[in-house]
């Protein structure tokens, strides 16, 4: 029946699904969204069943509801995320007071493999919705060339106390709120810098990772990226940079020569007009610094950060408020 992501699942017995529907605040026959091009309506019962199968606790319902609404928002292009050759996953970011309230791990192995129920199951829920709803009812094959482990679960929680305003303020949500955000994402890249003494050294190292020669966005240049700043790096950067200043610095330094990218075969022989390939210029994978989102997470001790590149077919990080219990 195709009812699994490859791992064992909790059977979606109606009694369990009804309990999940209740916690999400929906009735079984409600339609939450749809994929018009595939004539698919996504019902509350489909989403609640996926939440049960992923192993979510009923108390996660107040977060699963806005997360579900984001996943079926046409702007997110859920089907495209599932079937693209890019092999992408749904990155879920949780920020604000709900991080502590629902018991998310935001320190050790925060970007993946935190071995924490909230991170693991809510991240898995998002991938299951992508899998179950993105294939046109099982009609469409996925074309992911490589994929990555986040396609099983990918949820990062921000520290409740941050150097800069919370992650969701970058998407227009008020500072004191709890929020859930999503972005279609490639796999994370680790950024190690243990001996830098300045913000610029760390930011330049991150920019090098954002703009490595194989970065997908170089051709289309309208995707987004999330940079997870570890606490040691965040402390050093925040001594001398606001978050907006740091985003601007990263945008400014994430560049490679167009001619060099062409030499490497990163530009097609006949580029399309809207990709704006201009020989002899420097090229960025971003059009604007607002496409770079900074997230504070991870354990103290090591001096690591991580770059999570977004998918080019999905232009924004989308966020919604998580209502208080």
């Amino acid at each position: 029946m195709g009812w699994s992501d490859g791992l064992p699942v909790v059977p979606p017995y109606r009694s369990l699904v009804d309990g999940m529907l209740d916690s999400m605040g929906w009735s079984a026959d409600e339609v939450v969204g749809g994929i018009e091009a595939q004539r698919i309506e996504v019902g509350a019962a489909h989403l609640a069943a996926a939440a049960v199968m992923a192993g979510c606790r009923p108390e996660y319902g107040r977060l699963l509801r806005p997360l579900s609404e984001l996943l079926v928002d046409p702007e997110f292009n859920l089907s495209g995320v599932e079937v693209t050759t890019g092999g992408d996953a749904v990155l879920v970011v949780v920020s604000g007071p709900v991080v502590d309230q629902l018991g998310f791990e935001h320190q050790a192995n925060a970007v993946g493999g935190a071995n924490c129920r909230a991170n693991a199951t809510i991240g898995r829920f998002a991938q299951m919705v992508r899998l179950f709803c993105g294939r046109g009812g099982g009609v469409l094959p996925t074309h992911g060339t490589m994929g990555h482990p986040g396609r099983l679960s990918f949820c990062v929680a921000e520290h409740p106390a941050t150097q800069w305003p919370p992650f969701h303020t970058q998407t227009g949500i008020r500072e004191d709120a709890s929020a859930v955000s999503i972005m279609a994402a490639e796999g994370p890249n680790s950024v190690n810098n243990h001996y830098a003494e300045s913000a610029e050294q760390i930011l330049d190292t991150i920019a090098d990772c954002l703009g490595h020669a194989g970065a997908t966005n170089y051709y289309w240049h309208f995707g987004t990226s999330v940079v997870v700043i570890g606490p040691a790096h965040a402390e050093t950067i925040a001594w001398s940079y606001t978050r907006d200043d740091a985003r601007h610095f990263l945008f400014d330094r994430t560049r490679r020569a167009t001619d060099d990218l062409a030499r490497l075969g990163r530009m097609p022989a006949v580029p399309r007009e809207k990709s704006r390939v201009v020989a002899g210029t420097m090229r960025s994978p971003f059009d604007h610094e607002s496409q770079i989102h900074l997230l504070e997470s991870g354990a103290p001790g090591g001096r690591f950060s991580a770059v999570i590149p977004g998918w080019v077919g999905n232009y924004n990080v989308l966020s919604k408020v998580v209502e208080a219990a």
Partner: protein, 92 residues
């Protein structure tokens, strides 16, 4: 432990009945550019090769606005009116 039924997590398409033609009504190839970087270049080359082999190919190649999104209804409607064999360009 549980004796109740299972809830299907997968939404199914609710489109009505439709007809699929497995044989083109006319011997003509119609090309669709899916918006990938090299798609148009491949299709123009395909067009030239097919014509060299005596196959009739429509000159106009319609394009999706972007590779990452489905064909919109307007374009889909136009393509449905085509009576030849439809080929879609692929390649990053």
């Amino acid at each position: 432990m549980y004796d109740d039924d299972l809830v299907d997590p997968i939404p199914r398409p609710n489109s009505g009945p439709f007809t699929v033609r497995t044989k083109p009504e006319v011997e003509e190839v119609v090309l669709l550019d899916n918006g990938k970087p090299n798609s148009m270049a491949i299709l123009r080359r395909t067009q030239a090769i097919l014509r060299d082999r005596g196959v009739r190919v429509k000159e106009e190649i319609r394009s999706k606005p972007f590779a990452g999104v489905p064909v919109d209804n307007e374009l889909l409607g136009m393509l449905a009116q085509e009576r030849g064999l439809l080929l879609c360009g692929v390649n990053d």
